[in-house]
């Protein structure tokens, strides 16, 4: 089942799995679902979970949105590790890129004569996306929103730039690596510096909690946007640079 990983669907060749195996897989999946559903129906579900406890400590969290409070204050450790997970994939993507040491982070292909309508649209879209992302970040304090949403909007705008063919991103320069790591670095540093006096790691002083959360989120937004963009550019075919800056790609 995991022995044969197919990358191309070739018509005409015999199917990779025998039908008997498929039936066995089907039965196994059916048993899995059925068993879980039966167990679920047989059991009582717990009371309100952590809802009441979270609500009672909300005024100590520095924000008003309970999900943001859980993500960045009560269970901030999970979020810190989640950014570390993103960083792993970013480093994995970097390691396979042909090292283009002497390139700057963003290169603009001036000779690329793209669609004027697209260029005009992008000019609007990118500005709009930046404002939207700032709004999402800010609003995360009291309504749904936050670093990941804000970061993915910016990353989306950058992907649009990349797809227009005029802009290329390279991740080897120090500046780019700073963008990738700043989210985790700020989180670790703020978390560590909280532990002065009788405070613990990641225990924000109450009066600064909102501000510290915003700083962490701002840095995380930058890193998340950069990493998501890196994931996109890393997955594009690195065909030996037919579209690189300097050569018209048409």
């Amino acid at each position: 089942m995991f022995d044969r990983l197919v990358l191309h669907e070739t018509s005409g060749t015999k199917p990779a799995l025998k039908s008997s195996t498929k039936i066995a897989c089907g039965l196994a999946s059916f048993a899995l679902s059925g068993g879980l559903i039966a167990a679920l129906l047989l059991s009582e579900r717990a009371g309100p979970g952590l809802a009441a406890l979270t609500a009672s400590r909300m005024d100590e969290s520095g924000v008003e949105n309970p999900v943001t409070a859980v993500l960045l204050n009560f269970r901030s450790y999970d979020t810190l590790l989640e950014i570390a997970v993103l960083l792993i994939v970013a480093v994995a993507m970097l390691s396979m890129q042909p090292s283009a040491t002497n390139r700057s982070m963003v290169e603009v292909n001036h000779r690329h004569s793209g669609d004027p309508v697209l260029a005009g649209l992008l000019r609007w879209l990118v500005a709009l996306a930046t404002v939207l992302s700032g709004y999402l970040l800010w609003t995360g304090a009291y309504a749904p929103g936050g670093a990941f949403q804000a970061g993915s909007v910016i990353a989306g705008a950058c992907v649009a730039l990349k797809l227009s063919g005029r802009y290329h991103f390279f991740w080897h320069p120090l500046k780019a690596r700073l963008l990738l790591t700043i989210g985790l670095a700020v989180f670790v540093l703020v978390g560590g510096f909280c532990a002065t006096g009788d405070k613990r790691v990641l225990e924000y002083p109450l009066e600064y909690a909102g501000m510290l959360i915003l700083i962490i989120e701002l840095a995380a937004t930058v890193s998340i946007a950069a990493i998501l963009l890196l994931l996109f550019t890393g997955l594009q075919d690195d065909k030996p640079d037919a579209t690189q800056a300097g050569r018209p790609s048409t």
Partner: protein, 498 residues
């Protein structure tokens, strides 16, 4: 109650994360190497410093640190007891020695620049898993470990390693998802994520059993328990040598450690004796099957990887032995002590072995077993390391492997489960066969012009493996120390174990 050193507990994760960020930013081979060695030494010093407060804190069952000051059900706690401490200690020691090896291994390689950040992120994940006291936090730690391992396996850009990494990634993701489903079911049943709270609330109802089975399947996939072991040999056999060493020594052990936690502590009431016997049977199958496959392997690295499959089988014998041992009250009981001892001995011996094979691979450019005739004369140090580590894996005195097997045999005999004794003895015999097969070939006087194709291996690559192998032997003389450490905790806060 809490001394100042306890406040250093979060540094177990903080130091590796900081090292990862710095290594990524510095991007200069020599500076990152020095920096990593310093960080590894610091980590070891930190863990050693935590030993004393842990000893003083036996009444509390271990050291607890409330991150963010919120406390367990709302926030996330770190928790270290004797069991976790042993794994932290082994991790710190191995990381230091393997880091030294990696400095020399990646010397002429620009992959080093990418290796160190991933390496440190993996260490962060391991320390995080060993100190976790929150079931969702464990999930994030598992993902950190899994994805970092995959990225490290893929570091060597060959097609075989990419395919192995992809399969490893798919299996790892499936394992994590099964685990996450278990977490969702547990949250639904108990309304909390804290390990301490779930342990005190847990019952043997249907949903808990379903969650336990999901979690067990997920973690067994990651631990490569037969028949879920198919991904291990290519992944461990295709990775760079220090990565293979850490994968076999620590990464598979992390999920095994979590299995112990779930079966004996978190969901102990739902752990039926029948399923525990089943785990033991799978373990026994792993021993036999792993040994057979190791014997048939054509490449030395694959042989060592299959030997890991076999050795992991011994660890799973813990479950039937504990199930029968109703008097067991702490982690210091014979069966658990034996399994943990085995885990440590295997971690040291197996990483030594992978380093030795890595040296042979560096020297000859291949590791095909039948072409390794007479290499003992050219690579005496690597072969010596391989031999000592092999003796510990077989379980001959006076190595740590011998004591570990002796303890396991004792536990099996005192519980009158003689059939496991037979399996263990047979496993040792079969291990001897495949180890001596390699040694026999290596010591045959060379017939052809082998010497021409042999490159020099720097001393910095030969010595770390030897140190690890010697440590595996020394472990045989220090049995009480480890068992004393193990008996700290486990009961005080979670009530008696099964």
């Amino acid at each position: 109650m809490m001394g100042p050193t306890v406040h250093l507990l979060p540094a177990l994760i903080g130091i590796p994360l900081f090292a990862a960020i710095s290594c990524l930013l510095i991007n200069n081979r020599k500076i990152t190497a020095c920096f990593s060695l310093a960080a590894a030494a610091l980590l070891l010093a930190l863990v050693v410093n935590l030993l004393e407060p842990l000893r003083l804190n036996t009444t509390a069952g271990g050291l607890t640190y409330q991150l963010g000051g919120w406390g367990a059900p709302l926030g996330i706690d770190l928790f270290v007891d004797g069991l976790a401490m042993i794994l932290l200690l082994v991790t710190a020691v191995l990381i230091l020695i393997l880091s030294i090896y990696s400095v020399f291994y990646f010397q002429s390689n620009e992959k080093a620049a990418r290796f160190w950040p991933l390496w440190w992120l993996l260490v962060a994940g391991l320390n995080c898993a060993f100190t976790a006291a929150d079931i969702f936090n464990i999930y994030v730690a598992l993902e950190l470990i899994g994805l970092a391992s995959v990225a490290l396996v893929a570091l060597d850009g060959s097609r075989a390693s990419q395919v192995a990494a992809l399969r490893y990634a798919l299996v790892g993701l499936l394992g994590s998802l099964l685990y996450l489903m278990g977490v969702a079911l547990l949250y639904r049943t108990y309304g909390t994520l804290s390990v301490v709270e779930i342990s005190s609330l847990s019952q043997a109802d249907a949903l808990s059993t379903a969650a336990l089975l999901l979690i067990t399947t997920g973690l067994a996939l990651k631990t490569a328990l037969v028949p879920l072991h198919f991904w291990l040999p290519p992944a461990h056999g295709g990775a760079p040598a220090p990565v293979s060493a850490i994968l076999s020594a620590l990464v598979v052990k992390a999920s095994f450690y979590l299995l112990i936690r779930y079966w004996l502590e978190i969901l102990a009431p739902a752990a039926a004796e029948l399923t525990m016997q089943l785990l033991g049977i799978l373990g026994a199958t792993a021993i036999i099957w792993g040994c057979l496959a190791a014997f048939r392997a054509r490449r030395l690295k694959i042989l060592v990887a299959y030997s890991t499959v076999a050795q992991l089988g011994y660890l799973f014998l813990l479950f039937p032995l504990v199930a029968a041992d109703n008097s067991a009250e702490t982690y210091g009981t014979t069966a658990i002590a034996a399994a943990m001892y085995f885990l440590v001995a295997h971690a040291l011996a197996k990483s030594a072995m992978f380093l030795a094979v890595g040296n042979i691979l560096t020297a000859y450019g291949h590791d095909e077993i039948r072409r390794l005739q007479g290499i003992a004369r050219q690579q005496p140090l690597s072969l010596f390391t391989f031999a000592i580590a092999g003796v510990s894996l077989i379980g001959l005195p006076p190595t740590g492997g011998f004591i570990a097997k002796w303890l396991l045999l004792n536990a099996a005999i005192s519980n009158a489960q003689w059939w496991w004794v037979a399996v263990m003895l047979l496993g040792g015999l079969m291990a001897a066969v495949y180890i001596f097969k390699v040694l026999n070939l290596a010591f045959i006087s060379t017939s052809l012009d082998q010497a021409t194709g042999c490159a020099q291996v720097p001393l910095g690559m030969a010595l770390p493996g030897l140190i690890l192998a010697v440590l595996a032997v020394c472990l045989g003389f220090n049995a009480e120390w480890l068992i004393d450490l193990l008996s700290i905790g486990g009961t005080a806060e979670t009530g008696t174990l099964k």
